[in-house]
C-alpha cells in the first residue's frame, strides 16, 4: 500500500500571524519508488516530509501511510516504524555513550528483543560502512562529521523502515561521501524494496537516481513526473529558481550551437552515450 497525501494544507501559526506553507497538496508515494523532492528554499519541502510520519499534523486534509491516518495518536508508533526520517543534520541527534547504543535507540523504542537489536545494529552499521570493531564502542562525539552522519543514518536504517525519508542527507558532505551515501541508498532499495523519499538541492543526483521528481513551488505541487519530463520544462524551472542538471545544460548548449542533441538527456550517462554515438558516427 502506498502513502496517500490527500488535500494536505499546513499553516504555521505564530502568535498573531499565520503562514500558510502547504496549499492543497495531493499525491501518492508508491511502494519501492525513489521519489525526489526539489524546490526553492522555503517552499515547504521539510514541512511536507515531516507530515509523512506525523511529526507535523495537517491543518486540513489527510495523510495515510499504508492506510493508517497520521492524525490518529494511537497509530503513530506504528507509522513511525514504517516511515524512517533522516533530518537535514542528523548528526545533532546523537546522544548515547557508544555508537552501538545510539544506533540501537530506535529498535529499542520498537521494543524488540536484545538479540534482534544487536543483529539490526550490526547490519545497519555494516550498511553505512562503519565497522563494528572500530566504531561500535566509540563515543559518537569522537567521530568525524561524515562518520557522525553515517552513524545517524544507521540509527534510522536499524529500524528497517518501509519508507525512508531523507531531508537533504548530503548537505555538507564531500563528493565521495555523497556518492557513497547515494550508492548505499540504491543498494538498500534493491535489497529491501523500500521506498526512498529524498529532498535534495543537487539536480544531478536527483536526475540520476530518482524514479519520479516532485517539484514544489510556494507550497504547491508544480510537477510530479519522471526526471526526463520534469527537466524538459527548463524555462518554468528557471522561473522557480531551480537549475537544470549539468548534462541537461550541456545538451541545451549543444542544441543552441546547432547540434541535434536530443531533449531527453538528463544524466551523465545519457550524455556520455549520446556523445559516443555522435563521435562514432
Amino acid at each position: 500500500m502506498p502513502i496517500v497525501i490527500d488535500h494536505l494544507c499546513h499553516t504555521y501559526f505564530d502568535g498573531a500571524t499565520s503562514n500558510p506553507v502547504l496549499k492543497d497538496i495531493s499525491l501518492e508515494i508508491r511502494e519501492g519508488e525513489f521519489l525526489s523532492i526539489i524546490g526553492h528554499t522555503g517552499c515547504g519541502k521539510t514541512t511536507l516530509v515531516q507530515h509523512l510520519n506525523g511529526l507535523l499534523l495537517p491543518t486540513s486534509g489527510k495523510v495515510l501511510v499504508d492506510g493508517l491516518d497520521t492524525a490518529d495518536k494511537k497509530l503513530r508508533p506504528a507509522i513511525r516504524t514504517l516511515v524512517g526520517m533522516v533530518f537535514q543534520y542528523p548528526e545533532y541527534q546523537l546522544f548515547a555513550d557508544t555508537v552501538r547504543e545510539d544506533v540501537g535507540f530506535g529498535p529499542k523504542n520498537m521494543k524488540l528483543s536484545e538479540e534482534v537489536i544487536a543483529l539490526r545494529v550490526s547490519e545497519a552499521m555494516a550498511m553505512v560502512g562503519l565497522s563494528m570493531d572500530k566504531f561500535g564502542e566509540k563515543s559518537p562525539f569522537e567521530l568525524s562529521g561524515g562518520e557522525k552522519r553515517r552513524a545517524a543514518l544507521a540509527g534510522i536504517l536499524a529500524m528497517r523502515p518501509k519508507y525512508l525519508v531523507l531531508d537533504e542527507p548530503m548537505a555538507g558532505l564531500d563528493p565521495q561521501g555523497r556518492q557513497s551515501i547515494l550508492a548505499m541508498l540504491e543498494k538498500l532499495r534493491q535489497d529491501t524494496g523500500c521506498s526512498i523519499i529524498m529532498v535534495s538541492h543537487s539536480m544531478e543526483d536527483v536526475a540520476r537516481h530518482a524514479d519520479r521528481i516532485l517539484v514544489m513551488d510556494h507550497g504547491e505541487v508544480k510537477y510530479l513526473d519522471t526526471p526526463k519530463s520534469v527537466f524538459s520544462h527548463s524555462e518554468e524551472l528557471a522561473g522557480m529558481g531551480l537549475s537544470l542538471p549539468a548534462p541537461c545544460r550541456v545538451a541545451a548548449l549543444l542544441r543552441k550551437q546547432g547540434v541535434d542533441a536530443p531533449g531527453d538527456i538528463c544524466t551523465r550517462d545519457d550524455l556520455e552515450a549520446y556523445l559516443l554515438r555522435r563521435l562514432k558516427a
Partner: protein, 270 residues
Amino acid sequence: MTDITLGQFIPGNSCIHRLDPRTKIVLMLVYIVMVFLVKSLILFSVPLAYVLLCLWLGQISFSYFGKAIKPIRFLLVFMFLLNLFITPGEKTLFSWRFIKITEEGLLQAVFISLRLILLVTGASIMTLTTSPIALTDGLERMLSPLKVFKFPAHELAMMMTIALRFIPTLMEEADKIRKAQMARGADFESGNIIARAKAMIPILIPLFVSAFRRADELAMAMESRCYHGGEGRTKLHQLKLGRGDLAAVLVTMAFLALILLVQGFFPGLI
C-alpha cells in the same frame, strides 16, 4: 512555549518604549517596593492604576495582563489556598473538621495573590517595552560604578545579551532534536515522572553538545574580530536621560507618595 510573556519584547515607539532603560529598571524597583508597602485592600487600586496607566501609555493591549498571569496561575492558586488554610486567626468564618478558615487567613490570601499578580504584570511591562539589548545596556551602565571593585559589569552584560540572543535559537534546536528522536520512536508523553525525565536525556545531551559547540564557535568568532572585553569600548547607542525620564520619575513618586500619605496620616480613610 510562545505564550510566555515575562521576558518577551514587543517593539514599539510609545513614550514608555522611549524611556531610558535605567529609568525603567529603577522605577520597576520602586514599583515593587510600592506593591509591598500597600497594607489595605482599597489601596491596591493605586499600583493597579499605575500598571494600567503604563499599559495604556505603552500602547500594549490590555489582554497582556491576562497573558502575563497565565503561566503563574497554578502558583497563584497554590499560594492562595496555602495562605487561606494555614494563617492563624481569631475570627473563624468557616470550619469543618480540621479545616478552618479565618478572616485573617482570607485577607492574607487575597493580599498575597494580588501582590503576585501585580508584581508579575509590572515586571512584564518592563520587559515588554524594553528590548533585551537596551536592558543589558542599562544594567551595564548602572553597575559600572562597581568596576572600581573589579566587578565585571561589561562582561556580565555581554553574557546576558548573548544568553538572551540564543534563547530562541536553542528553543528551535530543541524542537528539531525532539522531532528527530520522536522519529526514532522516542516517547515523551507517557509513563510516570521518572520515565519522562529519563526520556528527556536523548534531547538534553545533543542540546548541550550543540550549545557548547555554539559557544565555542561564537567565542572564536568574537576573538577573531578582536573582542577583548569592555576596556576602552565605546557604544553605538549612548544612553541619555531626558525630560520623559524626569516625568516618569515624578509620576511614579506621586503614586508612591499617595500610598504613604494615606497609610501614614489618614488611616481612618481605609
